[in-house]
Assembly symmetry: C2
Homo-oligomer: 104 residues x 2
């Protein structure tokens, strides 16, 4: 499976972020149609939101960044929704997982 690539997107929203959730959902659906898309994980706490998308190659990440609807969403995000954000592109080198045998 490894290596593959992760885009770590951490963000703080403005207090008024009308339309953000709908756009986030739409972008997630679009990302899934992109070549090289492997998956997405997302969590938003009271202060910080983290979305990590996984991709098969750096080229796949570049293509998604430049996808036209996504470009427009990024621009709207900077104008309307995000107080700040940080993007990190990382190469996933190894991974392991745990699953409880006895779920409560």
């Amino acid at each position: 499976m490894t290596p593959y690539f992760a885009v770590i997107f951490t963000s703080k929203l403005n207090q008024a972020a009308e339309g953000y959730a709908e756009m986030a959902t739409k972008m997630e659906q679009l990302a899934k149609e992109q070549p090289g898309y492997l998956g997405i994980e997302s969590a938003r706490g009271s202060a910080l939101g983290i979305t990590i998308s996984y991709w098969s190659s750096e080229l796949a990440i570049k293509d998604w960044k430049n996808q036209l609807d996504h470009q427009l969403a990024q621009q709207l995000g900077r104008e309307r929704w995000y107080q700040q954000y940080q993007v990190r592109v990382a190469k996933v080198e190894r991974e392991y997982s745990f699953s409880a045998r006895d779920h409560i």
Copy 2:
């Protein structure tokens, strides 16, 4: 700044996770004292929690993984708190950020 390393930890908690928040806070404080620690970001939504810690080297990550109190916390986590988790070690190759000029 780049390259540096990220440990992406995604988890689902058991419904009863008494003592988890206290341990998470304690481990975050301990991590900050480790050599090579660069930072931590965390968000927990209703379904998924994501914690990303940043490190200067793979050795720093290995040392933190093997730190004794952290080992015990990991064991407790598997026994008590986590329904499942996944750990990914990734090399951060590039990054960029945005900050709104006019905060609301």
